[in-house]
Symmetry: C2
Subunit: 241 residues, 2 copies
């Protein structure tokens, strides 16, 4: 008897995150990868015709990808997105995909950098719909060793406005400071530099997703402006000559 | 033969830093501690009459302490200060102390928190004058296991405006943010919180010394204001009803 074959999964987008996720998904699925920028893999119709379809594309390309796969989706397919936001991307998918598919929002709180030594113990936020296949997906993701946290899309975006928004905003502020050489630092300064350096390696597209597309970030920015004015004060008046 | 006695040192100020430093100094000196707020130790005249006198007082109390010890200082005494700034405190001591004493600026880049497990390997900035006793003091401090870094007072204050100023300013900004509960964070967010929590435990007096009394901090504040405006943008215009 031959071993029972793995279920099939279509992976749309083989950029930094898609290429990173592929070998992990291949432990559970036969993966049909498609990326229009990387010919030689599965066709769009093949990848989008699988029972599970993962959209590993940036927020800015999500609507375009949804329109492209829509005609090829089979009834009852599970479509998974991996964006850093949840409310708007899930609304986009619900608006553009056929009603017969199930949609699952996920946000892996890691990436090629933090997951390069393996993904066991790393955290993934799951925003399941009401379908049974979303619950099954949570169990499969746990089998990869991930810590799966279930949240509503709005709770996710509210929390990430602080967790990711604050870190990326302050990282961008610090990265642009023109400091002199500082050979003799303190341990709190060193930690601050490590925290801000980690996020400043991320792409400009991810920075914009996290700090502009999340509606709850406006509250973070408003508090930051207020605190900065309170702590830094107004600039000193120009000295009379 | 009895062992040769340790040299004598007067320690003026037995607050958080003076009390922390005392057992370390007692490895090298017989310490005569004086603090007007803590009766029972040496008198001011006894403490200030030793060949080495350490002023462990905040910047705001330095001039008052200098005036108090001046009449009791013996010719050729070495007076050591431990402020977080160097240019202004050293100028204050030169203006208020008799010309016959040698003045030594030091800044231990540690304190009761970071030095609670021992001070070996921790860093101390030394701003020696031209006298021979300052060089001798550097050798003695190295015997305590410290990494001694020699700098001019101006170089010290310029570097600390960034190392301490930036960390304390951003620490104060973050400490005042009203964040919701955030059970699911990223590692860069956790590092940012650790860095800012470390400095937010320091006293209000130290915060003011580091972020207001150092003239070079104005450049740090100006750059922060500019970067914040660039990254945060202007507040959104009020929506018309």
């Amino acid at each position: 008897m031959s071993p029972s074959p793995l279920p099939s999964l279509g992976l749309i987008g083989l950029g930094a995150f898609g290429a990173f996720a592929r070998p992990h998904l291949e432990k559970l699925f036969t993966v049909h990868g498609h990326d229009p920028a990387r010919p030689g893999g599965a066709t769009l119709a093949e990848a989008a015709g699988q029972p599970v379809v993962v959209l590993a594309v940036p927020v800015a390309r999500l609507a375009e990808a949804a329109r492209a796969i829509a005609p090829h989706l089979r009834p009852g397919a599970l479509v998974v997105e991996v964006c850093s936001l949840k409310v708007r991307p899930l609304a986009t998918l619900r608006a553009l995909l056929p009603a017969h598919v199930e949609i699952l929002g996920t946000h892996p709180l890691f990436g090629p950098q933090s997951g390069r030594e393996g993904i066991a113990g790393l955290r993934l936020v799951l925003c399941p719909g009401t379908g049974a296949r979303g619950r099954l997906a949570g169990r499969m993701l746990r089998r990869l060793g991930l810590e799966v946290v279930v949240m509503t899309p709005e709770a996710h975006d509210r929390q990430m406005a602080w967790v990711q928004g604050l870190t990326h905003l302050l990282g961008r502020v610090v990265a642009g400071l023109e400091m002199p050489p500082l050979p003799h630092t303190t341990s709190s300064f060193d930690q601050l530099m490590r925290a801000t350096a980690m996020v400043s390696q991320d792409s400009e597209a991810l920075f914009r997703t996290i700090t502009e597309d999340n509606p709850f970030v406006e509250e973070v920015k408003a508090q930051l402006r207020e605190r900065m004015a309170a702590v830094l004060g107004a600039p000193p008046a120009a000295l009379a000559a």
